[in-house]
């Protein structure tokens, strides 16, 4: 029994659960949890983009909502104003968010630490106020709704569209799954190692010949891509875009999800996001002021488990394995 095996088993269980969720969830709880589960998957991508920057490169971004919002607006403006069909609009959403990340990243990653956190907030606020005041294009505070175009149409009558909830669920699962797979591949690649080197010690990284600025910029654009994918999916899921999703509170929430889940772990963001969204869904009916509990949980996690639930899990698994291995070793080791 090794920690890696247990973790692989955990990932397998999560994937299986995700695949059968549309049938399994209505048996256990109410069927509206399928919708909430797909919402969790979408939001977890936003937390994952924070995690990529903070957990792997060491840059704490408080402005990921900007790219989320750009993704949302890309899709909504594409469909409602430019008359795009499904795939071009989806691509346009991801493109606008990623392009925004590339442009702002050129400036933002010149700074690190506190200054980086603050300039990302400033950038997201600038575009938040722009989206608020540019009402003809963005709809301002009211948002910009649109009607869902079909994904594929065969002949006259047969259409594949996200209006079918099963198709919508699996579309989201495939996109989110692809994104996480891509992230896992990148993190194992030399680029992923370079990310972690920069996080550990940027001076040494530059001394061994890594271009720290370029690596940070790459990570920023990757994170922007993930956030804009998340925003595009959320626009398709909710069929509208709104400036309120670009506010820095949304970014802050994503940071909280990532840190509670555990930064620097691949699946930490999913855990953190799910936990807090479940809490919201379960408690908001029972107790109007459930946010008090959310705030308290955030503070308690930061104080007692600074590595988040992911870090806690790894600690427990390692201890368990050590304990089990020692028990089995004892009989064979004559010295003990």
């Amino acid at each position: 029994m090794t920690p890696t095996k247990i973790n692989q088993f955990g990932i397998l269980a999560l994937v299986l659960f995700t695949l059968i969720a549309p049938w399994a969830l209505p048996f256990i709880v109410d069927s509206f949890w399928v919708e909430i589960y797909s919402e969790m998957l979408i939001w977890s991508l936003l937390a994952a983009s924070v995690n990529l920057l903070f957990g792997y490169v060491g840059l704490l971004s408080f402005g990921q909502a900007l790219f989320f919002g750009m993704g949302m607006y890309g899709v909504a403006i594409g469909v409602a104003k430019l008359d795009f069909s499904f795939w071009p609009a989806f691509g346009f959403g991801i493109f606008s968010g990623t392009a925004m990340a590339a442009i702002t990243g050129v400036f933002a990653v010149r700074l690190t630490w506190h200054y980086f956190a603050i300039i990302t907030v400033v950038f997201s606020l600038i575009f938040y106020f722009m989206a608020l005041s540019w009402k003809p294009l963005t709809g301002g505070d009211d948002g910009l709704p649109f009607s869902m175009p079909p994904m594929f149409s065969f002949g006259e009558n047969i259409e594949l569209s996200l209006t079918n909830s099963t198709i919508q669920y699996y579309f989201i699962v495939i996109m989110v799954g692809l994104c996480y797979t891509l992230m896992a591949i990148v993190m194992k690649s030399p680029l992923g190692r370079a990310f972690r080197t920069v996080k550990e010690n940027d001076k040494r990284a530059s001394l061994i010949g890594l271009n720290v600025y370029l690596i940070r910029l790459t990570a920023f654009i990757c994170a922007g891509f993930i956030a804009s994918l998340s925003g595009s999916l959320f626009a398709l899921f909710g069929r509208y875009a709104s400036a309120s999703y670009m506010f820095y509170h949304v970014s802050g929430e994503a940071v909280v999800w990532a840190i509670i889940g555990g930064v620097g772990t691949l699946l930490g963001p999913i855990v953190g996001t799910s936990l807090l969204i479940i809490l919201r869904e379960e408690l908001s009916h029972v107790w109007e002021h459930y946010q008090l509990l959310v705030g308290a949980i955030v503070i308690i996690v930061v104080i007692f488990a600074p590595k988040g639930l992911g870090g806690l899990w790894h600690g427990i698994v390692n201890q368990l394995c050590n304990w089990v291995n020692r028990k089995t070793d004892n009989s064979e080791d004559p010295k003990l």
Partner: protein, 285 residues
């Protein structure tokens, strides 16, 4: 032209109030190395406490004395419960204070309610100034802010506790070795930061509205003042706050307020990129 003068004046008054609040933020950052996301909510708690004092006693003047004292107590409590345990992990301070901000906002919403209200200023009437009728209360608010700021700098430079605070900020280990109780100094500093934000809330309550989300709007502005003035540079913070608010006030007389806000945000990103240590870097310590 009248509009430009009026909005410019409003900008200066508002800038002085912001300076008072941002000074608290700057002190907390400079000494404890904590980025306090909840600072806007400290201000908001101040406005709500002012409302509470007026509701219970009917006397607004009392709020100017009681609220900062309550703020000091709350600040000390928060420092003890939340800030002290995360002292060694500065990255997490942003997250912990974000949680704090959620708690403060939600507890105000639970007790005070979600509907914004207006407070009647304790001084009525207007005065003729530069050819236009100007509210006396705003001038009074500016005077209170200036005296609080002057008092604070006097405290920092002329008293034993203030000297200790500067010493701990300069070199915490050496200060502790010299017998300065740095633990207490951290507590007092954080509490003082809360008290200043709360006083800012009392002063500003009749000018703005009392609302549980008031802190969310004011926080970016305070951060702008702190950054442009230079992180931890207290005099710079005050100057930057007044300049920024004046700039925004004058901009707002020509354009839409949102455009004015975008303008000052752009100004701030330029400052951050060109002079990340603030426009006054190098002039002081």
């Amino acid at each position: 032209m009248d509009l430009v003068i009026a909005l410019g004046m409003n900008g200066i008054v508002w800038g002085l109030i912001i300076a008072l609040i941002a000074l608290g933020l700057s002190v907390i950052f400079g000494l404890l190395d904590i980025i306090n996301i909840a600072h806007g909510d400290f201000f908001m708690v101040g406005t709500v406490l002012a409302w509470l004092v007026v509701q219970t006693t009917g006397n607004y003047w009392l709020a100017f004395f009681i609220v900062p004292i309550i703020g000091f107590g709350l600040g000390a409590l928060i420092e003890f419960l939340v800030i002290q345990p995360i002292k060694n992990a500065a990255a997490l301070s942003i997250v912990a204070t974000f949680g704090l901000s959620i708690i403060l906002q939600e507890s105000v919403r639970a007790t005070y309610g979600a509907a914004p209200t207006r407070l009647v200023p304790p001084i009525d009437g207007t005065i003729l100034l530069f050819g236009l009728e100007y509210e006396i209360y705003r001038l009074f608010a500016a005077a209170v802010s200036i005296s609080a700021i002057v008092l604070f700098f006097g405290f920092l430079h002329r008293t034993k506790l203030g000297t200790w605070m500067r010493a701990v900020r300069f070199d915490p280990e050496m200060a502790t070795a010299m017998g300065i109780p740095s633990r207490t100094i951290y507590l007092v500093t954080f509490a003082l930061g809360f008290a200043m934000a709360a006083l800012g809330g009392v002063v500003a309550a009749p000018i703005t509205t009392v609302d549980f989300q008031a802190g969310v709007d004011i926080l970016p502005f305070c951060f702008m003042a702190v950054i442009i003035g230079g992180l931890g540079n207290l005099e710079g913070t005050v100057a930057a706050a007044v300049m920024l608010a004046f700039f925004e006030g004058v901009m707002a007389s020509f354009f839409d307020p949102t455009i004015a806000r975008i303008g000052s945000l752009c100004l701030m990103s330029i400052v951050l990129l060109i002079r990340p240590h603030g426009i006054f870097a190098g002039t002081t310590r």
